[in-house]
Symmetry: C2
Subunit: 149 residues, 2 copies
């Protein structure tokens, strides 16, 4: 893990913590494009948006800021492995690398989401397990809180 | 094809025609939720948004208008079969039925997009071929125009 990897995943985890405080699924992202770092978090509930996963929000924010339809060569750090929707979005955005923490299998154990975790035949290079424990701790806190309701 | 099916696909095709005029990939959508019909078109280029497929734009617009995270029971009419990203989004949105015109195979023949067309194991009921010729004619016009550039 390079200093940059740790730093960018740290920014993504910070977003995930903010999501947890806001009652959202605690998933955060940090998109790196050149010198820019664009952070985002899950906004499904707060934004009334079923597509508001952290990765989608980060990609939309970055492409708006850069006024670009593609973010070729960008790196995306996300606290949980991208779902199919987000994996396809990273492909369309031209993202080169995705670094994630907890896996979809970890998430599925907590949420029961039934969307397959099979990797896409195209798209960015994926690398998992980056600060997985910190990501998992947030997901577990959220899951426990949900169970108490 | 019921009167409603024809009418809703007509609205989606109208959006696809507007997309073509705007220089976008000509794909349009119409989301039906209760009495509401919410239309949208591809905004990838005009909106600098790699996730701006007609289905995603329609889902986001509908969930914002209805202030709802899920659109359970909604029907989505789209001029081209949803890609993986959009299919997963329809699953998350709780959409019950997707009616489409041209198939992903039709689109891939024109664009070369390599994302698999395998249907998801979960998600809405899919029905294809609704006014396929009209949808294909728009895709071909766009493809020919692109080749001239």
């Amino acid at each position: 893990m390079t200093a940059t990897d740790a730093e960018c995943m740290g920014l993504a985890l910070q977003q995930a913590r903010q999501a947890l405080l806001a009652g959202e699924v605690p998933i955060g992202a940090c998109l790196v494009h050149g010198e820019r770092r664009i952070v985002a978090r899950n906004t499904v509930l707060s934004g009334s948006d079923p597509t508001g996963h952290a990765e989608i929000v980060a990609i939309r924010r970055a492409s708006t800021e850069l006024n670009a339809t593609r973010l070729d060569g960008a790196r995306l750090y996300v606290t949980v492995e991208p779902c199919l929707m987000c994996a396809a979005a990273t492909h369309y955005a031209g993202i080169a690398e995705v670094h994630y923490g907890a896996s979809l299998a970890d998430l599925q154990e907590l949420t029961g989401d039934e969307l397959s975790a099979e990797p896409l035949p195209v798209g960015p290079r994926l690398r998992g397990g980056l600060q997985r424990d910190a990501s998992l701790a947030l997901l577990r806190a959220w899951s426990e809180r949900r169970a108490l309701r």
